[in-house]
């Protein structure tokens, strides 16, 4: 299963490396979101600093929807999905591999967005590691949900409108927990263990459900 997962992750990352969709489209979109939020919230530096955690995570969720579209989209063209199924790879391996590829892309995006909120919003965390752990867990959780919902919407002509409706309400806990961890890191209020635990539970739950339902997902 894990060998298959690595193969699929490498395949998706190679496609990304060649097509540069993350670099050329998702990343500029995310930076545009940061700028627009700042314009909407006004120039008050203190207010921007307090709003930064929410802005970072809502931008991450928007970017995750695009990543889910892309992850499902690469399998839609030229019957790639059928070939992937016929390749004999373990469905759970395919799920984990695709999720890993999305996770790595989202992690890269999270790094850029964190730098963006520090520069544009003046939101420098006083302790870094809770935010780093939160970003790793959230990227993994978003990777799982992106692939799950992407697979559900795959092959339908309504994928673009359907995916945000399906995935955004689901990932509300990531938004809440991620925002709380960043806010705690900003104020130096100690380690927000409960929120990190919630992110871990979300990620584990969706990872487990994805592995268990991967066979059924492949047949949709």
């Amino acid at each position: 299963m894990f060998r298959d997962a690595l193969l699929v992750a490498k395949k998706d990352l190679r496609i990304e490396l060649r097509s540069r969709v993350l670099l050329g489209q998702v990343l500029p979109f995310a930076v545009a979101c940061l700028l627009l939020f700042a314009l909407a919230l006004g120039p008050d530096r203190d207010f921007l600093r307090r709003a930064a955690p929410g802005v970072l995570w809502i931008t991450m969720l928007f970017a995750a929807v695009l990543a889910a579209q892309r992850s499902a989209g690469v399998e839609d063209d030229d019957g790639a999905r059928d070939r992937l199924i016929l390749s004999g790879l373990d469905p759970a391996g395919i799920f984990l591999g695709k999720a890993l590829a999305v996770t790595l892309q989202l992690l890269a995006l999270a790094l850029v967005l964190t730098a963006g909120t520090i520069v544009l919003f003046g939101a420098t965390p006083s302790s870094w590691w809770p935010l780093a752990v939160a970003e790793i867990l959230a990227s993994l959780g978003l990777g799982f949900t992106s692939v799950l919902y992407g697979s559900l919407a795959e092959g339908t002509k309504l994928r673009e409108t359907l995916l945000p409706l399906l995935s955004l309400p689901t990932v509300a806990p990531i938004l809440i927990a991620g925002t709380k961890v960043y806010a705690a890191s900003l104020s130096g209020a100690g380690v927000p263990a409960a929120w990190l635990g919630l992110l871990a539970v979300f990620t584990l739950a969706y990872g487990a459900v994805g592995v268990l339902l991967s066979g059924a997902l492949q047949e949709t």
């Binding site: 799950l148 559900l152 359907l162 689901t170 509300a172 809440i176 969706y206 459900v209």
Partner: protein, 248 residues
């Protein structure tokens, strides 16, 4: 045929019982029970708001998750589970919307606002969105089996998500009062005629839910059967055309 008549009779009996118990709840709630010392007459919403939430958040959602699991499990796979899950979700959406509406009316009077970012309000709104996502998937034209599988998976995702959403928003912020009956200490904080009316409300809305799901289930079955017969008819016509062409 006899089985169908027995089923219809069963549904009618539940419908009549639901109507009687609802009427009883209205009479008890409006004329028999007293006003609240603090909240006044608006407290009477307690006889319909929690029962609606019980139907939407527990019965409808729980039933759709169980039916979806039974559909996905190869040994129990049957179209009926899919139809049951879809029926429960549709009825759940109605009650979920009504829960938010009655909650907003109650909140306006007690908290002074139609909406507040309280844990239960927020998680109920997110639940409504998840339900709407399920219905959106159901509306996508697809082979019935694929559609059923997609919907079943969506229902299970939502089922996994609900407790996490609930706890996240609970820790985030809570203004809503704690549960009146099923609270942490399992000690009801409502007594006398008010408690009995609330209990009657729960019974009435549970019966109403069963009746509505049964009706929606029958409609779903008929729609599926009609789609099948239309397909059979189209195939027959096509075959007749082909044999006419080959004969000429």
């Amino acid at each position: 045929m006899e089985e169908q008549i027995a089923k219809r009779r069963w549904v009618s009996v539940v419908g009549i019982l639901a109507a009687i118990s609802l009427l009883g709840t209205v009479i008890m709630g409006l004329w028999v029970t007293p006003d609240d010392a603090v909240q006044g007459a608006v407290v009477r919403l307690v006889y319909i708001h929690p029962p609606m939430a019980w139907v939407a958040l527990y019965l409808a959602f729980g039933l759709s998750a169980v039916a979806s699991l039974l559909y996905l499990w190869p040994r129990t796979r049957n179209d009926r589970w899919d139809a049951l899950a879809a029926s429960a979700v549709e009825v759940g959406v109605v009650f979920n919307g009504l829960t938010l509406l009655t909650g907003a009316i109650w909140g306006r009077d007690t908290w002074g606002v139609w909406w507040t970012w309280d844990a239960r309000l927020t998680s109920t709104a997110i639940l409504l969105l998840l339900f709407l996502g399920y219905m959106a998937i159901r509306r996508i034209p697809a082979d019935p089996e694929i559609r059923a599988r997609r919907c079943a998976i969506m229902a299970i995702f939502a089922f996994v998500d609900v407790p996490i959403v609930h706890f996240s928003v609970l820790w985030w912020q809570t203004l809503h009062q704690s549960a009146t009956v099923l609270n942490a200490k399992l000690h009801p904080t409502i007594h006398g005629s008010m408690a009995w009316t609330l209990l009657l409300g729960f019974v009435a809305f549970t019966l109403l839910f069963v009746w509505m799901v049964a009706l929606r289930f029958a409609i779903e079955k008929r729609q599926a059967s009609q789609a099948r017969s239309e397909l059979d008819e189209a195939i027959r016509e096509r075959r007749a055309e082909t044999s006419e062409q080959s004969a000429s």
